[in-house]
């Protein structure tokens, strides 16, 4: 009673959002009668007033208490939506627990209270920019969970931002947000696919599962997005969290079925296809034709099978099942059986797990008996098993039965037949029937056993036995007239109507085989007709009719008697049947036409019932899926395609990074230390790639060339991603006006708020863009295992300090080298792909001290192969002027088509802007190239105090000083600090200055280590005085010229 009343209450609560319903509820006697336990909620209305007050109070503890009660209401399924305004005010609370509870509330009710929900958006937008990754992630999580269509553009922006966040956790959250946005607004599909494509490239194990999930939800048909990531996913799989594994495995199963050819050799059709494939293929394959190799597994196919196998040992049953289905659908027939053991292991798990696993085994065991036969005993039924488990086990045992084990199985079945669970006993009898039809050796034994069961006391058992016997006899009626006779004898003892009816039917059907007994049975029935059940009466009428047709001499009178009885029966079915039969079989003038056919109508040969498993064609559904379990197509089920006759191009899966690195476990722990650092650190960590350059090459000197190769790869990656984010930014810029438009038509009073957000978003994007590119930079490197043990900031300092140690400098004052203030990303063409016959090269200055030799300037070169064949042995050949001191990069043995690689070299420019000419050689060709450095690149930044600067400047007067007054471009005066353009031009370090209008920069030349001092003094409205002090006066004047240009530029 109690539970009933609460149910009622909650039902109405669910529906009605207005409080009136609840007031109404309160007055009903049920709720007021509710016991003390529900007293709290029977006065919901007043309590809510109370809660409102608490929420609006100033005390945190009161608010928290109130929120807990509100969440309690939600958890019970009660309506708390009217508190929305009071709750939403607390969204920006400092208290984390309170905040979380508010989030919970928001996500639950935002859909219903869309206008009010928008009040909270700005809080999340602010949090999206938080330096703490967890706050960013949770903001995105809540923002994307608020199902309010109006914020779709904001969500879209946030997702895009988060997808390129440096924290993999935030990226994972963005992958989840993709699905949420997609379900909210399907029109965003194209944009979302772009984000998915980007996230698929992610190398973090944290992201992989989530993004594949998003892929499956948004664009499962875009199989082309997977190609490039296929090998990476296979390799990462073991390290992905268990839930992600399930999703990735099922996606890869589908993928593999579209990309590889069938490994099932038994498949006769397959060979034909294969043959044709050879003919169609181009010349390189024609040789294979003669060898007639039947099948060669694609290495990628093998990779998938190999990498999923260890997951059979997972503790997560879903993972084991998904690997099992993968093997079932993809592996060569002889390898499938390795999953058996693991599946049998799952049977030890919970009842529900057993249920699903047994279902799948049932399907498998029909096709592949051998797989589970050794484990037959694991399917023995216990009396404590649940009914559906029992029947599934029975199903499997039946499928596993063969000549060898049938006697064991039948003995086991005998125990089951005696079970107290009569439904199960009946199932067993059916199973025996199936065994009897499948294995002809035991048909007789089974039949005899079943006949014995006819004397069972339980009517379900008897009925089932009779029915099964009937089916068996129908299949092979010739030999078994004695069983029919036996049944006729037992007939008097059998009371179950269904069984009696079945026997009567048998008599009628095979009356010609038992010509003497059948009429006798009919005689008995005529006696007891009135006291029989309806179903028996109907069959009696049938029997009478059939006998009348075959043996009218003996039965004519009996038949007429029965027909007369039937004519006046209480049941109209029986009356109808009687009338029909009479007209059909008793000839008279009116219906002679039909009675001619009576024999053919009544005694037509009837098709034997087919005794087969209910799981016979379940395998049309992918194993392990919901559709397989319910045996209908569930919504969203993705069909597993047939193997392609000809394998699609394999090379689509080739990636530049040939060997994706799998991180070793201990090293990873240091990663998260890094991740937890806030964004500020990345600010100073600019130019990461070059610092890496230094280190990796130093290690390559120490004869480990592999690391340098790896780091090269990683930096090329970082380069790409940075350019990517550039283009993305442009894209975003163009889109923003469009989004404004979409907002406009629905404008209300909160329109301004939204506009504001969008503007915020935009300006923020603009400012943080720079930071962003670096973020990605760092991120990619970080993932790339080379630097695992060091956080980036460590690197920077490490490089610099290393360099300082190496520097044979003995200067009067501490000349401390510093990291570059700014690294321009501008890259210059070294070799155009047209002149380089497909090899293209670009160079840029990463502005890091060169570790090969301190007098050198480091240069980063990216080489790209745009041809369709691999280029081999890329190295540096002759150089000029002959004295030019170059530290070459290691010869690149092979550069795959479409691949690119980044290498580092050091060049000693001898403090002049004279171009360094050298030859870039491949195996076949050599191309003359030259690098001409800007004067600013020949410097290295140093830090010094203002005092030191003044002192140094005092030494470098007169000849050594050059200065010029310029008119500054307006923007340089106001908005930006002067340091940016200066740093762009020359690699100088900032010197702290005590005056606001004077900016000082210091550096030294790379080769000779001569100090270069730059002073920019702002004077009045738009003029500035630039002074350069250096003993290299030529350099001084050249630098002055460049600076003048840069600062005066509009």
């Amino acid at each position: 009673m109690l539970s009933m009343s609460t149910n009622n209450l909650s039902y109405s609560d669910q529906g009605g959002t207005d409080s009136a319903v609840e007031v109404g509820q309160e007055t009903t006697p049920t709720s007021s009668n509710a016991g003390a336990g529900f007293g709290l909620f029977s006065v919901d209305f007043k309590k809510n007033e109370d809660l409102k007050e608490m929420l609006e109070s100033n005390k945190e503890s009161l608010k928290l208490e109130a929120m807990k009660r509100v969440v309690g209401l939600i958890a019970k399924g009660k309506n708390a939506s009217e508190l929305f305004p009071a709750v939403v005010k607390n969204v920006a609370s400092k208290n984390i627990e309170l905040k979380k509870l508010v989030y919970v509330y928001l996500v639950r009710y935002a859909e219903e209270q869309q206008d009010l929900a928008l009040l909270s958006i700005s809080t999340f937008q602010r949090a999206l920019k938080d330096p703490n990754q967890l706050i960013r992630a949770s903001a995105l999580r809540v923002l994307s969970s608020i199902r309010v269509p109006i914020i779709v553009p904001i969500m879209m922006l946030a997702i895009k931002e988060a997808a390129s966040d440096m924290s993999p956790y935030v990226r994972k959250t963005s992958a989840h947000a993709i699905q949420k946005l997609y379900s909210l607004d399907q029109d965003q599909k194209e944009l979302l696919i772009e984000v998915i494509e980007k996230l698929l490239k992610d190398k973090s194990t944290l992201v992989a599962g989530s993004v594949v999930m998003a892929f499956e939800e948004v664009c499962p048909d875009r199989i082309d997005l997977i190609h490039k990531n296929y090998r990476k996913l296979c390799n990462l799989l073991v390290d992905v969290e268990e839930w992600g594994q399930v999703v990735i495995i099922s996606m890869l199963t589908r993928y593999a079925r579209t990309q590889f050819t069938s490994p099932w050799k038994e498949d006769g059709v397959f060979d034909e296809h294969n043959e044709r494939a050879f003919y169609e293929s181009d010349e390189e394959k024609t040789r294979d034709e003669t060898e007639a190799k039947p099948y060669m597994m694609d290495p990628d196919h093998r990779l998938l099978l190999r990498n999923t196998k260890p997951l059979l040992q997972s503790r997560n049953t879903a993972v084991v099942m998904s690997v099992a289905q993968l093997y079932w659908h993809l592996a060569p027939k002889n390898e499938v059986s390795i999953v058996t053991k693991s599946l049998v292991r799952l049977l030890r798990s919970h009842r529900e797990v057993q249920y699903i696993v047994l279902q799948n085994i049932a399907t498998m065991s029909i096709q592949r008996k051998g797989m589970f036969e050794p484990y037959m005993k694991s399917f023995y039924v216990r009396s404590t098993d649940a009914t559906h488990i029992k029947s599934l086990k029975l199903e499997i045992l039946t499928s596993l039965a063969n000549e060898a084990n049938i006697s064991t199985i039948l003995r086991e079945f005998q125990t089951y037949v005696k079970s107290q669970d009569k439904q199960f006993a009946a199932g067993t009898i059916q199973a025996i029937g199936r065994c009897a039809t499948n294995i002809s050796e035991v048909t007789d034994t089974c039949l005899n056993g079943l006949v014995l069961l006819l004397s069972n006391r339980d009517e379900t058992v008897v009925a089932e036995s009779v029915v099964v016997i009937r089916k068996l006899l129908q299949i092979q009626p010739t030999q078994h007239s004695d069983i029919i006779k036996h049944m006729a004898k037992l007939f008097d003892n059998i009371t179950v109507p269904m069984a009696r009816a079945s026997i009567l039917w048998l008599m009628g059907e095979y009356c010609e085989r038992v010509p003497k007994i059948a009429p006798d049975v009919l005689r008995k029935m005529a006696k007891s007709f009135t006291s029989e059940e309806d179903i028996v009466k109907l069959q009696t009428v049938n029997l009478a009719a059939k006998l009348y047709l075959t043996n009218s001499k003996q039965t004519k009178l009996l038949t007429q008697y029965i027909l007369n009885l039937g004519k006046y029966d209480q049941n109209y079915d029986i009356r109808d049947r009687t009338r029909f039969i009479r007209q059909l079989i008793v000839p008279n003038d009116k219906n002679g036409a039909l009675s001619k056919y009576a024999h053919r109508i009544l005694l037509a040969p009837k098709p034997a019932p087919v005794l087969e498993s209910a799981y016979k064609d379940r395998d049309r559904y992918q194993l392990g899926t919901l559709s397989h379990t319910i045996n209908t197509k569930a919504s969203g089920y993705l069909e597993l395609s047939d193997w392609p006759a000809v394998a699609p191009d394999q090379s689509v899966r080739n990636v530049e990074v040939i060997e994706p690195t799998v991180k070793s476990k201990p090293a990873k722990s240091s990663d998260d230390k890094f991740y937890s650092d806030s964004g500020e650190e990345e600010e100073k960590g600019s130019g990461s790639s070059s610092s890496e350059d230094g280190s990796s090459s130093s290690s390559s000197e120490g004869n480990s060339s592999q690391t340098s190769e790896e780091s090269d790869k990683s930096s090329s990656q970082s380069e790409k991603s940075s350019s990517e984010s550039d283009s993305e930014k442009k894209e975003r810029k163009t889109k923003t006006p469009l989004q404004k438009k979409t907002v406009k038509p629905t404008a209300k009073d909160w329109y301004h708020t939204i506009m504001e957000h969008i503007f915020n978003e935009e300006s923020w994007t603009y400012v943080t863009k720079q930071q962003h590119t670096k973020t990605i930079f760092v991120n990619v490197i970080n993932q790339h295992s080379v630097l695992q043990t060091f956080s980036y900031s460590h690197w920077s300092t490490l490089c610099v300090s290393l360099f300082t140690q190496l520097c044979p400098l003995s200067l009067a004052f501490p000349l401390q080298l510093s990291g570059p203030a700014f690294v321009p990303e501008k890259s210059h063409d070294l070799l155009h792909r047209m002149t380089g016959k497909g090899l293209s090269a670009q160079y840029q200055f990463p502005r890091q001290p060169c570790l090969y030799q301190p007098t050198m300037v480091s240069v980063q070169i990216s080489l790209t192969n745009t041809t369709d064949h691999p280029l081999e042995q890329i190295h540096i050949g002759d150089r000029s002027p002959t004295g030019l001191n170059i530290h070459c990069f290691n010869t690149i043995e092979c550069l795959e088509p479409e691949a690119s690689v980044t290498v580092f070299m050091g060049i000693d420019f001898n403090d002049s802007t004279q171009a360094a000419n050298f030859q870039l050689c491949t195996k076949e060709d050599h191309f003359s190239v030259s690098i001409q450095p800007a004067i600013g690149e020949l410097l290295l930044p140093i830090t010094m105090t203002e005092l030191d600067f003044r002192k140094e400047q005092g030494k470098l007067l007169g000849m050594n000083e050059s200065s010029a007054t310029i008119t500054m471009a307006a923007e340089n005066m106001t908005s930006q600090p002067i340091s940016r353009p200066v740093a762009t031009v020359a690699n100088l370090g900032m010197v702290p200055s005590s005056q606001d209008n004077v900016h000082r920069f210091a550096g030294k030349t790379a080769n000779s280590g001569a100090v270069v001092l730059v002073t920019v003094e702002l004077r009045g409205e738009s003029t500035a005085l630039i002074t350069i002090n250096t003993e290299k006066s030529v350099m001084g004047s050249m630098l002055l010229r460049d600076l003048k240009l840069a600062l005066a530029q509009a």
Partner: protein, 419 residues
């Protein structure tokens, strides 16, 4: 994936609901309740129910139904596994998983559910990670909380989820560093009337309780790893090393966890520690029957068998029983299933425990067709029935010397005697 979760008690009351996507009306549970009505036992409710718009996947555990609502295709095991994790999480947090416990900690359970899934996809299911976000209640803490007004929600943002070893939190410190391993083996067996083994196998599990500071890297090796036929591991175990060297190498989670489960490769050579002599008969004419059960030790490897319990599943037509036990006591339950639970305790080889007496059937009820089956429960301390032995445990990565211990227990799993 998972749209909503409902917790339902055996009488059909929905006492908690949580939605991860749009709200699904709880009327969807009617389909489930209908199926529940039809089923004789709660265990018989089909785990997957197909309704016009939704799919309902449920588990029954600790007398509670966990019912999840699904809208699109998803591997059913994925959902079932997750639901069991939810139940385990509740158990882990509050000591037991029951209706009262959930009702008492409604808000905390709700918060936990919020953290476990995002948009229906599992986000944090490792108890280590969850406990860092939302601290489990202890008596001490609840006192402190009421006094100081602090909360159970972690104010330091978690790091566990971000690390690549999500099962272990950073900065663990203990004064006593200990690592205990329990090797628990269960015998699954079906014996027939005459006492011959129809089917028997050994399933084992290594439960660990590791309380070690820092980031220890442990290696556990067995004397006879060949015994292990099929294994499954906690994600922390390095599978490659197991494949090549047959040792368990892992960085352990903090606290209690299941390190591995295994199956012993000894299909027919399982030592059955006890034998059961029973005769249960019903007289053909009268409405009476007799029951006589004796339990005795068989292959116990010299250890004593403890905690012996015999459950007799009697036919439904039994009206009452009148039995006497020479040792221990028996209880009689006449609910939906008629059972007699005979708690024997320690098995004394000199004086075998016996339970005998008469059964009376309902008047007019026919003689039961099948004799009732017996389920045996037992425990043997300090013995792994398969003979598996831990060789040694080594620790790397930390300097201190941990206290190590291994315990062996043999239990009866699904041990059934047919009569």
């Amino acid at each position: 994936m998972i749209n909503s979760l409902f917790l339902i008690n055996p009488s059909g009351e929905i006492f908690l609901e949580k939605h991860w996507k749009s709200v699904v009306s709880r009327s969807v549970c009617d389909y489930f309740l209908e199926a529940k009505e039809k089923a004789l036992e709660p265990e018989d409710v089909p785990p997957v129910i197909h309704t016009p718009h939704h799919y309902l996947i449920s588990i029954y555990r600790d007398k509670l139904f966990f019912l999840s609502v699904i809208q699109t295709e998803v591997p059913p095991l994925f959902v079932i596994e997750f639901l069991h994790r939810v139940a385990e999480m509740i158990q882990d947090y509050f000591g037991e998983c029951s209706e009262t416990v959930v009702k008492d900690h409604m808000v905390m359970v709700y918060e936990l559910l919020e953290e476990m899934l995002d948009n229906g996809f599992p986000l944090a299911t490792e108890s280590n990670v969850l406990k860092e976000m939302i601290r489990p209640p202890t008596i001490l803490r609840s006192v402190v909380n009421t006094l100081t007004g602090t909360s159970n929600v972690g104010d330091t943002l978690l790091t566990g989820q971000l690390s690549t070893i999500p099962w272990r939190r950073a900065g663990v410190r203990y004064t006593n560093n200990e690592a205990y391993f329990d090797v628990v083996e269960e015998i699954d067996a079906i014996l027939d009337q005459s006492g011959t083994t129809v089917f028997a196998e050994i399933q084992g599990v290594v439960e660990a309780c590791v309380k070690l500071s820092g980031m220890p890297d442990l290696t556990l090796s067995f004397m006879n790893p060949r015994l292990l036929d099929d294994v499954s591991f906690h994600p922390c175990v390095r599978y490659k090393l197991w494949e090549s060297e047959r040792v368990l190498s892992f960085i352990p989670p903090d606290g209690n966890f299941t390190l591995m489960t295994y199956h012993v490769n000894a299909q027919n050579l399982v030592a059955i520690p006890v034998y059961v002599k029973q005769s249960i008969s019903f007289f053909e004419c009268g409405s009476d029957g007799r029951l006589d059960v004796t339990v005795g030790p068989k292959q116990t490897m010299g250890k004593t068998v403890e905690g012996v319990m015999v459950t007799v599943h009697l036919p439904k037509t039994i009206l009452s029983i009148n039995l006497t036990a020479t040792q221990g006591s028996y209880t009689y339950d006449n609910g939906t299933k008629v059972t007699t639970l005979w708690d024997i305790g320690k098995l004394n080889p000199q004086k075998l425990p016996n339970l005998r007496g008469s059964l009376s059937l309902q008047a007019g009820a026919p003689k039961p067709e099948e004799n009732p089956s017996l389920n045996i429960d037992l425990k043997i301390q300090q013995l792994a029935i398969s003979g598996l032995k831990v060789n040694r445990l080594d620790m790397f990565g930390e300097k201190y010397k941990p206290f190590k211990g291994v315990k062996y227990i043999t239990k009866a799993g699904k041990f059934q005697v047919r009569t």
